[in-house]
């Protein structure tokens, strides 16, 4: 017979269940509580200042060694480009890690330009969804990735609430996910600002510690209540992001997703993920135990009946 006893089996089930129950709440507290590394850097994007010169796009192109663009970076005709029957403006792709789009919101005095790039979440969905751990959130605040580890599953592209990671579909042999890395390799880790921040003539982009930027953002709004909408996009969205926006027109008019949750994306999978160890580890043991117990019971009955026979 197997070495498992009824008592041993029951105590293992209780211990396993207790471990699952005790382990899960500790993790639950961790999700959403991470406000970024204390010295984490960030960028505040003040959309009221942007004039749509696209110098940031050009600077990114050179800094990241990206290929020549289709059109010059001073060509404003790209603002009229749309995709999916006019419903989609330009997006980041494998050859453009940042993109500026023009919006003409109702009630605004003129066009409003919005720069998009990776927002470098405090608790990135791309990172938590990556099963080969290709992503890293550095202590400087950047969300970087190791292309050598990437297997091209593109789960991060689905997970990202801002739809930023792009895939190098043009590469037949070694397609990988590509996105803005906060100029980590060439600048951020040496204490220098990203290339787009440095080139911006209007200081639309302010580079500093995230905690200082939050203070500055709220102070700008407080000092100029007529100029700004009272919201710092990225302060709480999906657990907070290193790149944050302030705007003079409602964020939803500029293509921002204003329905995003405050909790990190990982929180959505937490309940399911915390059940995985139980299903994979506890259930086999549980049902094996039931099987053994019922099998043992039958054997006992047979023995009993033979005993009775001998007596009779």
């Amino acid at each position: 017979m197997s070495g498992i006893s009824r008592r041993g089996f029951l105590s293992a089930v209780v211990a396993g269940g207790a471990a699952t129950l005790l382990g899960a709440p500790r993790k639950a507290r961790a999700i959403g509580d991470f406000e970024g590394y204390p010295e984490g850097m960030g960028v505040l994007v003040d959309l009221t200042r942007c004039v749509g010169c696209r110098s940031c796009e050009a600077a990114c192109n050179h800094e990241q060694g990206l290929p020549e663009p289709d059109l010059p970076f001073d060509d404003p005709s790209v603002f009229d480009e749309t995709f999916h029957h006019g419903t989609q403006k330009r997006r980041t792709d494998e050859n453009a890690f940042t993109v500026v789009n023009r919006y003409d919101p109702e009630g605004a005095e003129g066009p409003v330009y919005r720069k998009i790039q990776c927002n470098h979440c405090n608790e990135p969905a791309c990172l938590t969804s990556c099963f080969v751990s290709a992503y890293t959130k550095t202590r400087e605040g950047a969300v970087i990735y190791d292309s050598k580890v990437c297997v091209g599953c593109r789960t991060c592209m689905v997970a990202c609430p801002f739809r930023i990671p792009a895939y190098s579909y043009s590469s037949a042999l070694n397609p990988v996910v590509r996105k803005c890395i906060f100029c980590y390799e060439t600048r951020l880790k040496y204490g220098r600002p990203p290339a787009c921040v440095e080139i911006c003539p209007q200081e639309v982009l302010t580079f500093d510690h995230r905690r200082h930027l939050l203070k500055m953002a709220h102070e700008r709004i407080r000092a100029n209540p007529d100029r700004y909408i009272d919201h710092v996009y990225g302060e709480t969205e999906v657990g907070g992001t290193s790149w944050m926006y302030i705007s003079g027109v409602p964020f939803e008019d500029l293509g921002f997703d204003t329905t995003l949750q405050r909790a990190p994306i990982l929180a959505n999978a937490q309940e399911f993920l915390s059940n995985v160890p139980m299903v994979l580890a506890i259930w086999p043991a549980l049902f094996m135990g039931f099987h053994l117990l019922s099998a043992k019971g039958k054997e006992g009955e047979e023995e009993q009946s033979t005993d009775k026979g001998e007596e009779g």
Binding site: D70, P72, D74, E198, E203
Partner: protein, 174 residues
């Protein structure tokens, strides 16, 4: 003897033309034009016609904040902007840093994080925010090259002019 009188005459004529212009502003050393080229890299320096802007601006403080022209009235600002060293310097670069996001600048900024002027634009932004905002309001020139010509490095940077993309349009995603 007569030579000396000639020079006095020349001086008097010169003063007659220059003094009224100089007394328009508060500073006798006011320049007629300023070449703003300390940051020029992709664009040539901008030749700023000071005299032209004197005629347009209502007050020196429109551009120079509180360092010259009408003084400040807010009691919070007076200690620095009425008598302090900040009131003496009139050049943008004296207060606005050329490299506001360098590690050293951010370290210094961290030390004065409770300052009233914590959120102070760098020199490049001080120029552009101040000039461009007014140009838009007053109907002045707004194009990049209206104020500073782009040089060859700039053309290459923007893939423009002689550096325009020549190849076939790459496949477009989305």
């Amino acid at each position: 003897m007569f030579g000396n009188w000639k020079w006095v005459f020349v001086l008097a004529v010169t003063l007659a033309f220059t003094v009224p212009a100089a007394t328009q502003g508060s500073s006798a050393e006011m320049p007629a034009s300023v070449l703003l080229d300390s940051l020029s890299h992709l664009f040539d320096g901008a030749e700023f016609d000071h005299n032209l802007h004197l005629d347009i601006a209502e007050d020196c403080a429109d551009c120079h904040h509180h360092t010259t022209g009408t003084g400040v009235s807010d009691p919070v600002c007076i200690p620095c902007h009425d008598r302090g060293a900040e009131a003496v310097s009139v050049a943008c670069r004296d207060c606005h840093e050329a490299d506001p996001f360098s590690a050293e600048s951010l370290r210094e900024k961290d030390k004065r994080k409770d300052d009233y002027h914590f959120d102070k634009p760098g020199l490049k932004a001080a120029y552009h925010l101040n000039c461009l905002q007014c140009h838009v309001e007053m109907g002045g020139p707004e194009g990049c090259q209206d104020c500073h010509e782009r040089n060859a490095d700039g053309d290459a940077f923007y893939y423009s002019g002689p550096f325009s993309p020549k190849g076939e349009q790459a496949s477009k995603g989305h």
